[in-house]
Symmetry: C2
Subunit: 430 residues, 2 copies
């Protein structure tokens, strides 16, 4: 096992460059762990002339990543281009078709084409590994695929997007509003110019779909994830959450139910005393609950060059050492259909904030709407009194079906005294 | 790969029984993950007639675990007897000598004979796996050996003993003293009749030595671990810790220094705001700090039948699937000598509690002793005034060498007004 593992890297952005740096600076350490040297033989990126601060000497340059995947002298192709479409998909497919292993950090690609790619890997007898695709500072893919493999996992949830967590943390610490903090995050480079992938929950949904597949042995099914982002969370809600003993986090939650796998992404109020409530800033965390292991909590950086390169190279070391596992933990053919546990029947507690004209009778109208849908109130709070003006009214509701809650809010939203669409945030009992 | 993996289990206590139960009830799930069925062919324990609540049908019974390891029809021997001596060691050696893989939960055995056993495994071409030996509710062995393998790790620390963490948590929550809470823990079965392995830090030292070897690629070296238990931590100290913004935890800490690997186990004050401070009760946590990955935090149950069986079976699934790694992450020959970073030169902050006769001049004498050793005080606190009576005086010291601190405390302890040996607890900057 002393023949080097030959590696071709497609994509030399932050992660690709960090991967080149890690493989070259830690070569000896990595070879000891992998049982043989890991050598980069080829690279591909858009701009050959850009100075990336790393030497690409001895690596064959390809302008076309698909051509590289097809023809480079490599045992593994590392796909760090990103995006669910081309050329990322073609790079992976071309590499596998030629019998090369694939390591990727591409959650969008796997969330949308995971089953097809896993089948292609099996047909070719190669490894398709993606530790870097989810919470790269924690080896959560390996943990679910191997470390907790003996368990029947019943629920898995976490904070999977560092941008959202940074925004929510900063909103809480500074009292500032979403738009303001987002703007700052963009100028600091923590958020993209087009932030919707992050703040609308899409990135979290991609990652959740991958974790759910690994945890439950089901076909990855991103289309059935219920997704809600954090744009509607206001400084007001964060303040009320604190007062009620909660933190607001964008969570991805997947749960085994009698109807199938329930998958949802939305802002949630979690008790301050939980481990997940304390995960702040750009950190990610994943909690897995198994029947034998109990609760297993993992926390680390979510993204960035360093952590992502660490995850990519961990996958490469496994390949060098001859360790492999099916892409989603079990052979593609053995992946169960995910079933469909829709949101409508889900039960849970809720926080609702209304902006109402402060006048007698409003509480009675709201209470009536809730009663008509058999939604049971836990508390109601109107801090400010300001007759004739618009004031916030905040309620918490006992466990209720989503559908009933939605119907009640529809009625409440139509009341004359309610001047904004009600703001609903789920309270998650973790 | 459809031939079943045949397993012989030595030791049917809590963990052995849970392992039998897990393998039999989750057989189908486990076979999907392992790529073939996992079948228990033989078991060995002391008392054949004891009802363990699990069926042993179809398994060959051995009174002698070493004979079983030598002759049973098995691909793997699971050693769950425990203890660093016989018969555990002979079971592992006999199994490997016959070309059988070994899975063990035995930290004491590996901490004392890790290198010899790793060599034996390599010589025989078999796997020696021990996920269940440390913090079984977290796959931390796999995480260090594979998941974070690309990093240069600089520090690893954690809460590694659930009994101590339960005692310290209960002391804080109830205000009761050590002896009282220990007695209760014993009657509840959370602590052994002879608790010294746990409360004197020995168990934590065993686990730390294993983690350090994996993290730093060094020969496991339990003898150079500095060990201090929790018997001297009083309710008074826990109260002061709270007041100063700390929690007291029994930590195992290993760090890469210029002199070699520093390994120490002792009660430590950690800031309330750290992730580790929030780990309460029987939970364990491990934090690894790597140059690429940053801080990676893992938390889960430390022991118990369920989590430990989960870890044992994860190792078995890896073996079934043909995944293997050197025992300590790199070949035994490549393990570096651990070097010797002794405690005397270590620098850190300290908390010191003195019991003194409340009379003028004591502060001056204490301050002089500190000054003579160039120990710099951060704060001093005497809550109670009670002239002529014995009162606690609490100090925190800026970063100081252990040796200087010890000399200063020796002088302080000899002062006439100081009526008890000073209580020292290290403040850990995490």
């Amino acid at each position: 096992m002393t023949a080097p593992l030959k590696i071709a890297i497609a994509g030399l952005g932050t992660v690709g460059t960090a991967t080149v740096k890690l493989l070259t600076t830690h070569g000896e350490r990595i070879a000891r762990r992998g049982g043989r040297p890991l050598v980069i033989t080829a690279v591909s990126a858009r701009d050959r002339r850009r100075d990336r601060g790393v030497s690409l000497e001895g690596m064959v340059w390809y302008d076309d990543p698909v051509a590289m995947a097809r023809t480079a002298d490599a045992d593994v192709v590392v796909e760090l281009i990103g995006g669910s479409g081309e050329p990322a998909r073609a790079v992976c497919e071309a590499a596998m078709a030629r019998g090369r292993h694939v390591v990727t950090a591409n959650k969008a690609l796997l969330a949308h084409h995971g089953l097809a790619l896993a089948r292609a890997a099996e047909a070719a007898g190669v490894t398709l590994a993606f530790e870097a695709a989810v919470a790269s500072g924690i080896p959560i893919i390996k943990t679910l695929r191997e470390g907790l493999a003996a368990n029947r996992l019943d629920r898995i949830y976490g904070i999977l997007n560092g941008t959202c967590n940074y925004i929510l943390t900063t909103m809480r610490e500074s009292g500032r509003d979403f738009a303001d903090v987002l703007g700052e995050a963009q100028s600091l480079g923590y958020a993209e110019a087009d932030p919707s992938f992050d703040v609308d929950g899409i990135d979290t949904a991609h990652k959740l779909a991958l974790l759910a597949s690994l945890a439950f042995g089901t076909v990855v099914d991103v289309d059935s994830v219920y997704v809600e982002g954090i744009r509607h969370v206001s400084a007001l809600d964060i303040g009320y959450a604190n007062e009620l003993g909660y933190r607001i986090k964008l969570l991805g939650i997947a749960r085994r139910t009698a109807q199938g796998i329930e998958q949802r992404v939305h802002p949630a109020m979690v008790a301050c005393t939980t481990a997940i409530a304390a995960v702040d800033g750009v950190f990610n965390a994943v909690v897995a609950e198994g029947d034998y292991v109990g609760r297993s909590v993992h926390e680390g950086r979510g993204a960035g060059g360093g952590p992502t390169a660490s995850a990519v190279v961990a996958d490469l070391i496994d390949i060098a050492a001859g360790r492999s596992a099916p892409t989603f933990g079990v052979p593609a053919l053995a992946l169960a259909p995910p079933g469909g546990a829709g949101m409508a029947q889900r039960r849970g507690a809720f926080y609702v904030r209304l902006m109402v004209v402060d006048k007698p009778g409003v509480f009675a109208d709201v209470a009536t709407a809730l009663r008509d849908e058999q939604v049971s109130m836990e508390s109601i709070l109107q801090r400010r009194r300001d007759p004739g003006e618009i004031v916030p009214v905040v309620m918490t509701l006992h466990d209720t079906e989503e559908q009933a809650m939605a119907h009640a809010l529809e009625k409440i939203g139509r009341l004359a005294a309610v001047v904004e669409p009600p703001c609903l945030i789920r309270i998650e009992n973790l």
